[in-house]
Amino acid sequence: MQRVGVFVCWCGSNIAGTVDVKAVAEALKSEPGVVFSTDYQYMCSQAGQDMIKNAVKEHNLTGIVVCSCSPRMHEATFRKTAAAAGLNPYMVEIANIREQCSWVHKDMLSGTEKAIILGKAAVAKVNLNAPLTPGESPVTKRALVIGGGIAGIQTALDIADAGFPVDIVEKKPTIGGKMAQLDKTFPTLDCAACILTPKMVDVAQNDKIRIFSYSEVTDVQGFVGNFDVTIKKNARYVKEDICTGCGACVDKCPMKRIPNEFNLGMDNRPAIYIPFAQAVPKVATIDPNACNMLKNGKCGLCAKVCTAGAIDYTQKDEYIEEKYGAIVVATGFNPISMDKFDEFAYSQSKDVITSLEFERLTNAAGPSAGKLLRPSDGEHPHTIVFVQCVGSRCESCAEKGKEYCSKICCMYTAKHAMLTRDKYPDTEVYVFYIDVRTPGKNFDEFYRRAVEEYGVKYVKGMVGKITPEGKKLKVQASDLLANKQLHIDADLVVLAAAIEPDKSARPLATMLTASMDTNDFFTEAHPKLRPVESPTAGVFLSGACQGPKDIPETVSQAGAAASKVIGLLAKDKLTGNPCVAGSNELICNGCSSCANVCPYGAISYEDKEFRMPDRTTKVRRIAVVNPAVCQGCGACTVTCPSGAMDLKGFANLQIMAEVDAICK
């Protein structure tokens, strides 16, 4: 029989305000096994912990029940306290009488009643606890960064800087991401390429960093410190290590009318292409859907002009398996589709464009070589209307837009408007907005310059409808401050489309068992205190995959994620969780149900010889759990039909005892 001590915490008035803590301590005194029961203002404080330690010595306690806040908060604290008092740390049970009790109940009577019941359940469980000892697992000192945009690049550089090898997996033929497509960056207006491309070169030249471009992660197994990842290197039909990026093939390719993704389809590229001049790796890629040689076996021009002999039409997708200690998700964002926003005539007129398309139009390397020209007729637009919050902050349009604020649009629109007025002072620029949100260093100053120095016409109100009429776009809008309808004949309309997480994020989250919110942004382990870690150990978040972010924020988060990775990789061993599953081989049927449901691949099978009661031997197939891989989720225990599988620390009997205590 255990000798159980019960410690009821007031948590100041957090618990004591709704729960009669003295009554709880008193009621639990008479529970089986309880030899000591008390209450205290702050059990987690030094004085509270000392109280527990003294009680362990004085009453020879073998088990401890702390009635306090959620075990997520202080279970670790009280386990340390128990260990310091000479007890096995797993002889501690927490009854959550704060989050699950005092905070959800209003009156003292029902709060106290429930607290007593929860305490009884914890006592019933601790009576069946057994000492547990965690195992250790080694750490693979290599990190994987998924996504090669500015977030991934910065994270990789910072990890490599600390001396650890890093691999970047990027699904596009080059790293650089969205930032490579931008023209200038707010609020300082330095050119995106000028600050990004040196970083891309740093990545390429860093001998700690490997780039898997045109590749994707297809499988993730294992656990923190020991991930086994399968990377699919898509066939680019060009030998990466031989191609010099000279571009001769690109010039000669006869299939020249393929929409250029890098310029968002506003111009064309050949079937063999290098996305942009500063691409890293600077290697050509053949688009298999466009190449005549790959489709029909006719052509082969690029192979003829390639002096290096890098073209390989027989190249196959390659699967690479690699071990990693940590994984950083940096999958970034995309603007949402404008197809459903018929009111803005995006699909009816070439002169209604998104802000990202505007970036390409004003970029010196873009389709118009940096001249702001109308896509429809190549003429200079004289009236430009910018529409903010297209699909953002849109509670009523959940089926096509997003409820959240995309955060970056106010600033880049101010930038676009200011730059347009700066380069083309004869252009009239309107910006329609719901609110202008500029919380950031030097952000509001930037926006005010656009209005005050550059004369951008900011109008509070939304655009209702855009109708193409001849060469003009008829813009109907409301000016909420003047309380009147506006009719503007615009030459160009720029939509600040909401941003959403990349589509690859959802399947990736499934592979990583990392959680996501309803908008498919990755969830952080704690919104304030652990913002760059996912709740899945060893998986970290960098950049816009976690929520909308501008470049400065992305870079700081990327650095923060890197520092967390470095902290993990610096360890030689990780202490495991002793609360893992184990199979009772005497009653295991070897039916494989547990292995089928195990998300971690922790269960294998072996044939084992058993002595039967009649002294014969019998070879039976039985399940064996690898405790280093098991994460203690318990899926196997509920699947096992014979009850052979059980979870240490959360045994079926312990849980039944808790249920019985609650139902008594």
Partner: protein
């Protein structure tokens, strides 16, 4: 009624024994009465000729017997499987419950097996013998001077009336056709129960399950219940060997058992066939099968060896738990 005869089966078994393909035969042996047929292992042609029977009462599903018999037989064991039995056979193989190499399966056609309770309902108790002639059954009882002739179709077992498949999904050799999966109305009765109010349904099951005497026949015959140690026999499980102390426990036994075989039950109907109290236990399992079909798409346990059952598989297309409630609400 059956298309295949005892003699044909003995001939096949004898041939396989003689050419040493198999060393044992799992077949039906005579019980106390004609309708009381017992699974038996035969080791020689002589034993077969003496004790092997085949009639409309050979309903037992042999698949489960292979878990123990296959290992016990020195060489291969011959087993005669009806189409519905082959599903259980595959399911047990999927769960690694016996060695396929140790078994030689001869698939036999099945015209549906008889339910002795239905015979008794027509002819009364005191049955001395039952003969078969074409579609007719001749029943001699203690109380009738003349044998009574009844239509074999009239006394078909429920599971045979609602036969889901005449297809042999696992065999080494066939006596007859491979057969096809057939349309059945087996979920009609489940739908009728679903249409009840919760109170009506509770009363229905209360009434049915109150007859349970916890003889464990359903569990012992069930081809999905092959645990090395059943939780109901395991003193450490906390629920072992209880004869029902109250109505709650007698219900719980069957509900727990239904949960344990959910997704693994092939709907072979052995549970209801062997129940001495005539509780329609198969309806619990069929409710699970119907739900699984509706939630995850059509799934037949045992249709193929090595299938991943929906309840122990995860795909990104799986429905979210919330959808279950949405459906329930939209039904209401």
């Amino acid at each position: 009624m059956q298309k295949i005869t005892r003699e044909q089966l003995i001939e096949k078994a004898s041939a396989l024994l003689s050419n040493s393909t198999v060393s044992c035969v799992l077949g039906w042996g005579m019980g106390e009465f004609d309708y009381d047929v017992t699974p038996t292992t035969f080791n020689s042609v002589e034993e077969l000729e003496k004790g092997f029977v085949f009639s409309d009462f050979c309903g037992a599903n042999f698949s489960k017997y292979l878990v123990k018999k296959a290992a016990a037989c020195e060489g291969k064991i011959l087993v005669f499987l009806k189409p519905c039995d082959t599903y259980s056979f595959n399911q047990l193989l999927t769960e690694h419950r016996f060695d396929r190499e140790k078994v030689y399966v001869v698939g036999i056609p099945c015209e549906g097996m008889a339910d002795i309770n239905k015979v008794k309902a027509i002819c009364g108790e005191g049955i001395l013998s039952i003969g078969s002639k074409g579609d007719k059954m001749t029943v001699t009882t203690l109380y009738d001077d003349e044998p009574v002739s009844i239509d074999a179709k009239e006394v078909l077992a429920e599971r045979c009336l609602n036969c889901k498949s005449k297809k042999h999904v696992a065999f080494d050799e066939l006596l007859g056709d491979e057969g096809d999966v057939i349309e059945s109305n087996r979920f009609d009765e489940v739908a009728r129960l679903e249409a009840m109010t919760p109170d009506e349904r509770f009363a229905f099951w209360q009434n049915e399950l109150s007859r349970c005497i916890r003889c464990n026949a359903c569990r012992d015959a069930c081809p999905a219940c092959t645990c090395e140690k059943c939780v109901f026999d395991n003193p450490n499980s906390g629920v072992e060997n209880k004869s029902p102390a109250n109505s709650f426990e007698e219900k719980l036994f069957h509900i727990i058992r239904a949960y344990h075989v959910a997704g693994r039950c092939t709907d072979c109907g052995e549970c209801s066939r062997v129940c001495p109290q005539n509780i329609p236990l198969h309806l619990l399992n069929r409710k699970f099968i119907k739900d699984i079909n509706e939630f995850y798409g059509e799934y037949q346990a045992g249709a193929e060896e090595g299938q991943r059952a929906p309840l122990v598989d995860y795909t990104t297309e799986d429905l979210e738990p919330g959808e279950v409630f949405d459906r329930r609400d939209s039904d209401a």
